[in-house]
């Protein structure tokens, strides 16, 4: 898993690439949390276009991130979700709890 990003005007943009599973999720969550805590963005955009695979560990990461942003009066937007990741989000019912944009 690789996370790259940029921040400007209160918006933090992060791009995930690689495979998001139980093995990689904890490190990824720590990396996302550190950046949110350091930058306190009003809006976090997660670009998932580089994800080759995601399972329910990724769903848990996205829901925890959404909760963290909400607690900071911010907002999470998930974009560029690959087909396999979207099927997992839908099967878990998480697509209804997240803001997902094309």
């Amino acid at each position: 898993m690789r996370i790259t990003g940029s921040c400007s005007g209160g918006e933090l943009k992060l791009r995930f690439s690689g495979e998001l599973d139980h093995h990689s999720a904890r490190e990824a969550m720590d990396a996302v949390s550190e950046r949110i805590d350091a930058l306190l963005p009003r809006r976090l955009t997660l670009d998932l276009s580089g994800l080759g695979f995601m399972d329910s560990s990724g769903v848990a990461l996205l829901l925890r991130t959404e909760k963290k942003m909400r607690e900071l009066d911010g907002r999470l937007v998930v974009t560029e979700v690959p087909a396999q990741s979207l099927r997992v989000l839908r099967a878990a019912g998480a697509d209804k709890r997240l803001t997902i944009r094309e």
Binding site: E19, D21, H22, H23, A25, R26, M29, F53, D55, S56, S57, V59, A60, L63, R64, A83, Q84, R87, V88, A91, A92, G93, A94
Partner: protein, 145 residues
Amino acid sequence: MRAINEVRVEFPSHSGNEAFARSCAACFAAQLDPTLEELGDLKTAVSEAVTNAIVHAYPDKLGTVGLKLRVLEGGVLEVTVRDRGVGIPDVARAMEPMFTTGGDERSGMGFSIMESFTDGLRVRSAPGRGTTVVMLKRLSRREES
């Protein structure tokens, strides 16, 4: 049902082996010429079953996880994930959506996803003896889809 082809692998319950297990299943399934969507579903279901074994079956130590893959007649792939870990005291409850003993790092949706992404799921477990998950996945050859 008669198996046309079969492979068995065993690996220690290192989390790094989750990727190995799902890739192994996808490579074996390739002989049935599945669609990309079917391969994605298969990899996801295998990843969930193997992650359950790694996280829950052996919480305090490394153990062995077995993966058996069989091609059955009619283009059906059977996947068996077996551990000899702590077992599940109440399988029906563990399979309820959102149920987890893993804290907020787990979504509690592993069994729901396995059910959604396969054509059959059976779970057998005995406390102290381990858990066996058997999944069936019907794979349509691409020229038929």
